[in-house]
Amino acid sequence: MRFENLFRRLDESRMTPEAKQALEDSGFGASRRDLLKSAGALVVGFAAAGASVTKLAAQSPINPTGLVDATKVDSWVSIAADESITIYSGKCEFGQGFSTVQLQLAAEELFVPMSRVKLIFCDTGYTPDQGVTSGSQSHIAEFGPGGLRQALDTARDAMLQLAAQWFDTTADQLTIANGVISLKSDPTQNLSYGQIVQGERFNLVLNSAAIPKDPHTYTVLGTSVPRVDIPAKATGQFQYVQNVRVPGMLHGRPVRPPAIGAKVLNVDKSSVAGMPGNPQVVVVKDFVGVVADTQWHAVQAAAALNVTWSAGTPLPDQASFYTWLTQQASADSLTLDSGDTATIISGAAKSFSAQYLHPYQMHAAMASSCAVADIRGGTGPKAYGRIWSATQGVYPQRDSVALLLGIPNANIRVIFVEGSGCYGLNGNDSVSYDAALMSQAVGKPVRVQWQRKDENVMGENYGAPYVINLQAGVDANGTLVGWNYEAWTASRGNRPNATTPGNILTGFLAGYPSPVPTPAKATQPTSYSNNGNSICNYLAGSVAGKPAAGTGTVNSGKVLTHSVASPFFTGPLRSPARLQNTFANECFMDEIAASLGQDPIQYRLRHLTDPRLIAVINAAQQASLWDTRPSPKSQIPFGAVSGRGMSCVLYEGNNGYSALVANVTVDLNTGIVTVTKLTASVESGPVSNPDGMINQTEGGILQSLSRCLMEQVNWNSSQGIITSTDWNRYPVVQWGRPIPQMKTIVINNPNVSQTGAGELGITLTPSAIGNAIFDALGVRLRQIPYTPASVLAAIASKK
């Protein structure tokens, strides 16, 4: 359904220049009016539900600010006279299946077949601004207050009210089936949605009191509806952003600094003069790009362009990086502080301490990032343009590009087109900047697709490194009495927004600062938030004297995080901070249980209060046929040894619940870890699409397996360069590796609100596998990745 949308825009760009200019002058390209017209909805419509139907004067749906009023039903849903339904959403599809879920939601709440619903998402000026699609937040946003579900319910209730007026009855005497409202007493008396709405607007504000369908009665949601995007993907017909073509389009490639922090001293444009494809060189401060007629010509010109760069900035030595991290000035934050933790741990019957290390990692998307931009009129209030981008946030990109290009944001339209899986803030925004800068400079549409090294070498914002020091104390009964967490992490930049293009590489190269933490002392927290999962599962979580909001029993706890300036750009990488923190917390809990001779699951359960967390642990325990006993397993120390480990989390402290059991074998001679079985349980409220949830959970778990066994960004400090330039230098799991047996238990909980599931499994894998390795070997690996060399070193340390 997105193809029509895209092709329509491509058709639009084939208009005569005069017609096109007129259209552009009216606002920013094709108007929302046209879109609504194509969906059948014209202006007019309903007054408040229950009042008489009033025809209103037509009003332009185009908002000159390029904003869409998300408080209005018409911004979310339109119903055409031919019964077709169009929904508008600010949440994108990345292959996680959320477009299918949104169609299921519309079908469910409106009592229509899914095939009748068309979905348009993530297009500035046309769809509601819902920020970014990320962080397991899409279910919360669309099923929660002010989201798509509320708009659908408001629309449905308004149609019921109108039908009630027509039949001179009350809504409770009516029933809906298949988009037709009929009298319960006489089903021959009926009106279809199309007849009621007559292609007009609702003119209603979202009603926060509108009652959603009870999840216990779901018939479309809660079923494994096949994903709507898969047939086209399987047959090579799917239009990815990499496939967007605009007539007259040229091809650009960036030319990046050879070292981090290097500045342009000179660009010798004559070095590409006369090369095929008429290459044009674009320079904006330290941003350099080459535009040519074809991809190959652009690639060759980019390689040939002679740029003189200054030396880069010094990088910390990688071998001692974790120590370096703990020695920098830092911005400190306290997430929890009961005030007594040091005293309680020092006075405990037994105390424990350990340090966990996690490297920078990459999103390393399958596709190198790509975008197409068509910027016309240079800069200033009369310039305008469009960008086709796989960004997670079309509005933040639009607003930041506006600043970058010096064009009012209302004149820029950012159209989301799916790329490959991004897993967070990868290069999709930076490549959009690249395309926009080059298109602005040459006055023609420009498509940019990065080469692999452009992606790997600072093109994306890496997942952050962590050093995590943990201490805990237990009483004479072995019960935890205090838990102290102190971590160091590093950041530079983040997601771009209206004022911070420098949060990503291209904006920084074009002259905008890349923010780093400002050193500051921590202040006491005033409310409980475990958004980063730095507070372990076992703490009660009482903050500022308020009732405990955590999932555990332990009253004494302190959680302190130091953020330092990162030498590299950082940003959200699937389960940011939560994966690293859960790796440390859940491995440390395992250490304590082992030291006390306790079964890891039983010992966890002893310190948990949250019934939903306990339920997922029990489910994973049963499904994995968990072998209840202390770790490590007694082993004969030769050949291959096996072990099992577990981990659990309440994601972000208030999102979905999950537990994971990993079974591994470790080859004592080679140090190779083979994960043989992964058993997960997930619970995030009412399930929308069980198969989709399993697919995403298992993909996340296996991606995390790759991350914890293989992945780390490497650099050469003396040369100031990233050395993880390609798939051979940033190896990940690929075809041919043994594939673990996978099992995922989906727990449907229709009694609570929807929460997210996209990052549950991935959060748990490093700790579950680490704990299984300990169970197998009897030695603890506390640094990611668990490479064969580190496994062999651990085995040697035991002897």
């Binding site: 990345f94 399987a234 090579g236 490959s420 899986g421 692999r452 296996l702 690929q734």
Partner: protein, 158 residues
């Protein structure tokens, strides 16, 4: 400007290039508007650009156009359509065997080439065969894809 005759997805056509070393992928994208083969790394390390050349999988991102002159090329859009998918594609659809789907040219075409030469191959044999080259799925949909390939090897689609 040289002209290279090729048959692509059953259609005789030609590709033109001023440089015989122009990577085939760029020309398939720019001159024939193919969407199946995709640029992932440009280094032959990931497989997203795979096409069959005279039945054998090649990496179109690192294959010079001059080297495929006269050959018969097949991309995943040449296998089947959404209305009439190839049995292998139908197996991927029935198993919902992908997330983003960007990598599919690799496992589908290497898988097809191997299975067609080795009917009845087991899942382990297929995985080992695909492991003989370098193929990546960053969404890590390996279990479902392997199951879909194994179904195809058994002559099934679901």
């Amino acid at each position: 400007m040289a002209v290279y005759s090729v048959t692509v997805n059953g259609v005789k056509t030609s590709l033109t290039a001023d440089d015989p070393n122009t990577p085939l992928l760029y020309l398939l994208q720019e001159q024939l508007q193919l969407m199946g083969p995709k640029y992932g790394c440009g280094l032959g390390q990931c497989g997203a650009c795979t096409v069959l050349a005279n039945g054998q999988p090649i990496r179109s991102c690192i294959t010079a156009v001059a080297d495929v002159a006269g050959m018969t090329l097949l991309s995943i859009e040449g296998l089947g359509t959404t209305a009439n998918p190839h049995p292998l594609q139908q197996a991927f659809i029935s198993q919902q065997a992908m997330q983003c789907g960007y990598c599919l040219s690799g496992p589908m075409l290497y898988g097809k080439a191997f299975i067609d030469a080795n009917p009845g191959a087991t899942a382990d044999q297929i995985n080992a065969a695909l492991g003989q080259t370098q193929l990546i799925c960053r969404c890590n949909s390996y279990p479902r894809m392997l199951h879909a390939l194994a179904l195809y090897a058994q002559g099934k689609t679901a």
